[in-house]
């Protein structure tokens, strides 16, 4: 019972604080506003060449190697450029909405795992409890080595 009333108090307090913040804060406008952005004043959308497209495709796993895709990319960059209008002078960057909380830690005990079948249910292709994936970054061996050796031998023979 006591616990409950404490909780109630907590809720009331949060409410009160919220109201206070609302009243004091002039940063949140009462009505939504819309400002026209002058795109000409913003940095230009950079030239998009093939090398850049390939690099972007590689790191995003999104394919846009055609005209529509490129147009989409240009308009995305243009749209994002609007962020330049936002005045961040003297505002500390916020990287986490939970940054005034602290991380909770957990005891080091094994309580999960041993569910191979379940985990593999998701996979398109499996082999002996392994996930099967396309080949990844395999070291680039000198493939022409054998060829080179043959060439050398021929030279020796002819001399």
């Amino acid at each position: 019972m006591q616990h409950l009333s404490q909780k109630c108090l907590g809720v009331c307090w949060t409410f009160a604080r919220l109201r206070a913040v609302r009243q004091l804060s002039s940063k949140v406008p009462p009505k939504p506003t819309w400002e026209k952005v002058d795109f000409d004043a913003l940095p230009k959308v950079p030239e998009v060449d093939l090398a850049l497209v390939e690099q972007l495709e590689r790191i995003s796993l999104v394919e846009f190697n055609n005209e529509t895709g490129l147009e989409w990319l240009r308009s995305s960059v243009k749209s994002a450029n609007r962020l330049h209008v936002v005045d961040t002078e003297g505002v500390e960057p916020l990287d986490n909405v939970l940054e005034d909380r602290e991380l909770w830690l957990c005891e080091d005990q094994v309580t999960e795992g041993n569910c191979t079948e379940q985990v593999l249910l998701n996979a398109l292709k499996t082999e002996e409890q392994y996930f099967v994936a396309p080949p990844g970054n395999v070291p680039l061996k000198k493939r022409d080595k054998q060829h080179l050796k043959l060439g050398l031998q021929e030279d020796e023979d002819s001399s």
């Binding site: 080091d108 985990v119 994936a133 080949p135 990844g136 970054n137």
Partner: protein, 513 residues
């Protein structure tokens, strides 16, 4: 032939180029469960059996940080003389790879657990007997997730993925570019490994991948700026690390000497060919698109138990990491143990390195303090004979069949010149076989007493000299190293039962005739 060319290049190159190496060491944290999930971490478990839903990156799962991993990171940072960040943060590092199911790794880029360390290590040259203390700076120590493992089947053109390792806690230790070659970097990693093992934060098993090293290597002319660097990834033995770094230095010098330019790239090392090879997927510098990890608030540490705020829920209060308590788990570090052997007992640096690495320093101290052995003889017998004896039988001195008092007796006999160094090795094995016999009975039975009769040694010298006239001629022409070869032959003839110094003097006397 090739070796000769390489060697001459090496010597030639040394005078014109200097090499600079920085290391990134990934050490798996010894913990029961993973960094952010409660799946197990045992090595060699059945494929994909230690995978939680979070490790498989199923939507809706969230990371929960393992306290043990944080404590291990803090303990390691303290042992390496780092400054601990009382608040540290987690970030996402993105790349697409089949053994990284989430498409990103949770790591600590902007505000790692610890920064600015300093480590004293013992440099050991692999070609000469040069040994000296050196110091290296650490840039940071961060917590991060390990990736899964891929098995590549090039014939079928596919990769097999095992996620058992995915999400295991790693400490990434980044050093400043403070190393100058393969031996230097290898010496550092060996010492670092000893530190981690002695404080129990990593098992140090390089062959099982518990400790992996990436090396950043560049060469430049003295007085000029650092050159373009290449990164050799996933070096998982001290041997391949040394070989890969030395190969890469030579490769870069050859490129630059022939007017080429070194490309900034990632390479891997092939122990069979002894060469480094460019890796296909990582030719270009990757854009990792680092961003703050939105699911994890900052990690807060406390200096003392009393400073834990009361506002923290009581369920969470026992789980916070308190620096003072972690410091209490600290063990005596290898460097302190080495220093003690040197200053208190006058042991040489190289002997103290070997004794501490083999975990025989405590035995050595017991022999000297409780059994009154001479420190010089004790370190000699323990380092040379006893270390090999235990190694062959894969034993530690605590479960050795030779009791410490028996070993002390052997050390005393060696010190008094009653048995030779090589006889001690025989004595150790024979004593193990005939446990009932006393040390002197074993010596008696196998005739291991040191040869006192100089006429026997004289006879052996005469015999060796008559059989090797060429070597004597060579010696007289100035090949002085023949002296050691001849002395070794005499020792062998005497079955190692003579005082090696006495034999050496007698051989050198005879050579003067």
């Amino acid at each position: 032939m090739r070796a000769v060319v390489l060697l001459s290049l090496f010597i030639h190159a040394r005078s014109e180029w200097q090499s600079v190496i920085g290391l990134e060491i990934h050490a798996q944290i010894q913990s029961r469960s993973k960094l952010f999930s409660r799946a197990g971490t045992s090595y060699g478990a059945s494929t994909n059996s230690q995978v939680s839903h979070f490790d498989a990156a199923l939507p809706g799962t969230l990371p929960v940080l393992n306290r043990r991993c944080v404590e291990a990171g803090v303990l390691t940072a303290l042992a390496l003389g780092c400054d601990i960040n009382m608040v540290s943060k987690f970030d996402r590092k993105h790349y697409f790879y089949a053994d990284l199911p989430a498409g990103y790794q949770i790591t600590q880029q902007r505000q790692p657990l610890a920064v600015n360390g300093q480590v004293t290590y013992v440099y050991q040259c692999s070609r000469t007997s040069r040994v000296e203390r050196r110091s290296a700076r650490l840039i940071q120590l961060q917590l991060e997730q390990d990736s899964g493992k891929s098995l590549h089947d090039s014939e079928q053109r596919l990769s097999l993925i095992d996620l058992n390792r995915a999400g295991v806690g790693l400490m990434e230790i980044v050093t400043a570019p403070d190393f100058c070659g393969g031996d230097d970097a290898a010496s550092f990693v060996r010492d670092l490994r000893d530190v981690l093992v002695s404080i129990g934060t990593c098992d140090g098993k390089m062959a099982e991948g518990s400790l992996r090293v990436d090396a950043n290597i560049s060469v430049n002319r003295p007085g000029e700026e650092f050159g373009v660097r290449t990164e050799v990834k996933n070096l998982n033995s001290v041997k391949s690390m040394r070989a890969a770094i030395n190969y890469e230095i030579e490769r870069q010098i050859q490129i630059l000497d022939t007017g080429g330019t070194v490309v900034n790239e990632t390479r891997s090392f092939d122990l069979d060919t002894g060469e480094t090879v460019a890796m296909r997927d990582k030719e270009k510098v990757l854009d990792y698109r680092f961003m703050p990890e939105p699911n994890l608030p900052p990690l807060v540490l406390y200096s003392q138990r009393e400073s834990v705020p009361l506002s923290l829920p009581s369920s969470q209060r026992p789980n916070v990491v308190v620096l003072e308590e972690v410091q209490g788990q600290m063990k005596e570090l290898p460097e302190d143990r080495r220093k003690r052997l040197e200053t208190r007992y006058g042991v040489s640096l190289i002997n103290s390195v070997i004794l501490v690495r083999a975990e025989l320093d405590e035995l050595f101290e017991t022999l000297v303090t409780s059994h009154g052995c001479d420190p010089g003889s004790a370190s000699h017998v323990v380092r040379n004979n006893y270390n090999a004896f235990l190694d062959e039988r894969k034993l530690t001195w605590r479960d050795s069949p030779i009791e410490t008092s028996v070993l002390a007796e052997i050390v005393r006999l060696y010190h008094e010149g009653k048995v030779s160094g090589s006889a001690v090795s025989v004595l150790l094995s024979e004593k193990t076989l005939d446990g009932q016999l006393s040390v002197s009975e074993v010596i008696e039975r196998h005739n291991l007493w040191m040869l006192r009769d100089t006429s026997v040694i004289e006879a052996a010298v005469t015999d060796v000299f008559s059989r090797n006239p060429k070597m004597i001629k060579a010696y007289k022409k100035g090949k002085v190293n023949q002296l050691d070869v001849l002395a070794a032959k005499v020792m062998k003839k005497l079955e190692g039962k003579a005082d090696s110094r006495l034999v050496l003097t007698m051989v050198s006397e005879r050579l003067k005739d």
